[in-house]
């Protein structure tokens, strides 16, 4: 079942086009990665899903309901972590965690204490004094204590240190284990690669790729480094081989998915000493499938 369905979503800020015909589907029980550079339209999409922004055109359904009309009923069943967490300066972190989870409809106290412990969070300080990472923790704890079906997380690890990022990943995996669905927007590719089942890449308000990580990897190349007894020749003439660099006994190439076997056959006569290959990273995908935008995009 699809928990989130977006069809032909279009949004303008004044005359600026922020989203153009965006299509996106998130299935129940998956971790869905929504990636793109800053200003690509990730936050705008998520805020439309929450009923905070009006859309100009298209159809949006979250948990089978219209997020603009049925906001309150819907919000009981989801938890949201904003990209830029702003808190009430004169409330303590603990108070905000409790308040936000109560506004969503109550929480389990022992789960709350466990999360505070795991995120190594001091809930007694006034929010005014928290760093970005600590403010993020407030929103994350308040989200993960809630027993909801859907988690919408907007760049949730911004400002977290690597240890806390690991705690965050554990939390995401736990909620998936429990059958919950996660929509995770990010521009940190390692995070998306580590967590997500399927991803969509958005750039300048348009979805440019969608699919599982494996599917998308087929769109890109594997990087191969090889050390041989005799200098390799003739690599450039092989189909599917790119960016050839040969330096004496060392050779470095990028190979299209599907061309790897022919490359190996070609290399064997040169007496291969060592060979390392790296799978295509999301970063390659990212860089290859779109030029990073230079102008100001949407928020």
């Amino acid at each position: 079942m699809s928990l989130i369905e977006i069809e032909n979503l279009t949004k303008y800020y004044g005359k600026t086009l922020a989203l153009s015909d965006v299509d996106l589907t998130v299935e129940e029980g998956e971790i869905f990665g929504f990636i793109g550079p800053n200003g690509a339209g990730k936050t705008t999409t998520l805020r439309i899903l929450l009923g905070l922004l009006r859309k100009n055109a298209g159809r949006v359904s979250v948990l089978g309901a219209d997020p603009w009309r049925d906001a309150v009923a819907l919000h009981r069943r989801l938890a949201y972590v904003p990209g830029e967490v702003s808190l009430w300066p004169n409330l303590s972190g603990g108070e905000v965690i409790d308040l936000l989870s109560r506004l969503r409809g109550g929480f389990d106290r022992s789960r709350r204490d466990e999360l505070v412990e795991r995120f190594k969070f001091d809930p007694t300080k006034p929010c005014r004094t928290y760093s970005t990472g600590n403010r993020q923790k407030v929103a994350l704890i308040a989200a993960f204590v809630s027993d909801v079906e859907l988690f919408i997380l907007d760049e949730p690890t911004l400002g977290l240190d690597p240890l806390m990022e690991a705690v965050f990943r554990d939390c995401v995996r736990e909620v998936r284990q429990a059958g919950k669905t996660v929509l995770l927007s990010s521009h940190i590719l390692a995070e998306v690669e580590a967590l997500c089942d399927r991803i969509s890449i958005i750039n300048a308000g348009t979805i440019v790729e969608s699919g599982t990580l494996t599917e998308l990897r087929h769109l890109t190349r594997m990087s191969v480094s090889v050390e041989t007894a005799h200098p390799v020749t003739g690599l450039s003439e092989l189909p599917g081989v790119h960016d050839v660099r040969v330096d004496g006994a060392h050779a470095h190439i990028n190979v299209d998915a599907g061309a790897i076997n022919r490359v190996l056959e070609h290399l064997t006569p040169f007496d291969v000493r060592t060979l390392t290959s790296a799978p295509p990273t999301l970063e390659d995908l990212f860089l290859r499938h779109y030029e990073l935008p230079t102008g100001d995009g949407a928020r």
Partner: protein
């Protein structure tokens, strides 16, 4: 001098950021002064009439305590008397707020972090904000002086009065410079500056009530007293400005000394820890709204209460004075007729308080906008809270808060007045009702703020302009006999003067209805638009 490097760049940044606020702040006091002179010229054209009016005011301790003494029975003296309180309120308030806005508030939001990582000296932000503030105060003084001279008032007196406005602005700029070093929150710094304003005002009021000539030893305690000691249009004492200057230098030196003893973002006073868990009561948008409105509401109520005690007490001390005098009756005519002098005095204070309560209503209503602009509302509305419930929770506190603030004045004023006349049972309910009838007019102001916020949040600040326009209409109307249709623009003009002419229900009901309609318009607009930072 590296501690100060970058000051020039920061000055340009402040001027750019406040390009709208600074001119308004510079223009208001001169405008007010000119209106006051024009009013006196039209109402009391002859020297004899001015002299008589001045004599009566000097013999009215209540009025003297409220507005200060009349130091010279001339057009200039009367103008100085009438404009001092309002002008110092604007100048002192704007000066303190500007300094806080460009020092502590920037540190709180992290903006100054970005700046201080550049080639900006440690002392540059404070220096830049002080330079701009002190400079604007001087320009404003020059404008006031020019306005007064244009009406043919003596140059020396005009310069002295204008400079005394600048001096009070300098005092509060320097005071704010110290306050921002103490706390981590800009709200607390504003609180400290506000508390000093009230304290100095009250000290001076007590001093003036005891010695209507304005020359008691108590005058030396409060900067507002110093303003009188300058004696504009009477016998100008230029040496008093040295006192101002000395105090300003000491305060600024203190601010610099404190600033070099603390980290960026930190205050001298350390913040307290809060509870690790929320109390069970903190569970809905109403409870949240209460937490956000609580502290400012209590502060406003405290100020109103102290003011109430003072007015109630002073009212009695002046009852002996007969107000059947034709000239005084003329002065009070706009308060609803020359009846008992005390009632007129109380009504006068109430009008003033009505406006102040209107200002409170705007700040309380626009908390909605602050919450949205800071992005905090996203998390509330992304939970199971409807927009209507969130907005109504805040509006409920506006409704209750304005009532609390007005009652905080009415109760002690009525009590103090009743105690002094020995008839609490009669005076207390009368004065309390007289204060509370301002509620519908105050709600209209809140309704205007809500309508603007709901429809065009970018322009919500225009509600301050609207309140200012109401004030101007009343001030001009009060003295220039403007036509009734213009006066009727201001909701405050429809408030019945209960003490003078009793309660009339119709205007109260229609004001409440107007407030309700404005609020509903705002709520509908808010329901239909996007939430944005």
């Amino acid at each position: 001098m590296s501690e100060f490097s970058g000051t020039g760049a920061l000055i340009r940044l402040i001027v750019r950021r406040d390009r709208l606020l600074l001119p308004i702040w510079m223009a208001l006091p001169p405008l007010f002064v000119v209106v006051v002179v024009a009013a006196f010229v039209s109402l009391y054209p002859t020297a004899a009439s001015q002299q008589m009016l001045a004599a009566q005011i000097v013999n009215s301790p209540g009025f003297v305590a409220l507005l200060g003494p009349v130091l010279s029975p001339t057009l200039g003296g009367l103008t100085a008397w009438r404009s001092s309180l309002f002008a110092s309120l604007i100048v002192a308030g704007a000066s303190a707020l500007t300094v806080i806005r460009h020092t502590r508030a920037d540190e709180e939001t992290g903006r100054s972090e970005l700046l201080s990582s550049g080639a900006i000296g440690r002392r540059a932000p404070l220096s830049a904000s002080l330079v701009v503030t002190l400079g604007v105060d001087l320009v404003l003084a020059a404008l006031c002086t020019a306005g007064l001279v244009a009406f043919g008032l003596p140059v020396a007196g005009s310069v002295a009065l204008g400079l005394s406005f600048a001096a009070i602005g300098w005092m509060f700029a320097a005071l704010a410079g110290v306050a921002v070093q103490l706390t981590e929150s800009s709200g607390a710094a504003r609180g400290i500056a506000g508390a000093f304003f009230v304290l100095f005002y009250l000290l001076n009021a007590v001093s003036d009530a005891n010695e209507p000539s304005g020359r008691s030893w108590l005058s030396w305690i409060s900067p507002f007293g110093w303003m009188h000691l300058v004696q504009p249009f009477a016998n100008e004492q230029w040496a008093v400005f040295a006192l101002f200057l000395g105090a300003v230098i000491v305060l600024i030196a203190m601010a610099y000394a404190l600033s070099s003893r603390r980290d960026v973002g930190a205050g001298i006073l350390k913040p307290r820890l809060g509870p690790a868990r929320a109390s069970p009561r903190l569970r809905g948008p109403l409870a949240l709204a209460w937490r956000l409105h609580r502290r400012p509401l209590l502060a406003w109520a405290a100020v109103f209460a102290v003011y109430g005690v003072m007015i109630g007490y002073l009212a009695k001390t002046s009852t002996n004075l007969l107000a059947s005098n034709a000239q005084l009756a003329n002065l009070f005519a706009h308060f609803g007729g020359a009846s008992a002098y005390t009632d007129a005095l109380l009504t006068f204070s109430l009008t003033f308080l009505g406006w102040i309560a209107g200002a409170y209503a705007i700040t309380a209503t626009l908390r909605l906008q602050t919450e949205e602009a800071e992005g905090r509302v996203d998390q509330v509305l992304a939970a199971a809270v409807s927009r209507l419930r969130w907005a109504m929770s805040n509006l409920a506190l506006v409704v209750i808060g304005t009532a609390v603030v007005l009652a905080a004045f009415g109760l002690p004023a009525g009590l103090a007045y009743g105690l002094s006349t020995g008839n609490v049972g009669y005076e207390l309910p009368r004065v309390l009702v007289a204060a509370l009838v301002y509620l519908p007019a105050v709600w209209v102001v809140a309704g205007i703020a809500m309508a603007l916020y709901g429809l065009v949040p970018r322009l919500a600040f225009v509600s301050w302009g609207v309140l200012g326009a109401f004030l101007l209409v009343e001030l001009i109307g009060e003295t220039l006999h403007a036509s009734q249709s213009i006066l009727n623009i201001s909701p405050f003009n429809h408030v019945p003067a209960v003490l003078v002419s009793g309660v009339s229900v119709v205007p109260l009901v229609s004001l409440t209805l107007a407030a309700l309609i404005l609020t509903i318009v705002g709520l509908i607009g808010f329901q239909r638009r996007s939430i944005g930072r």
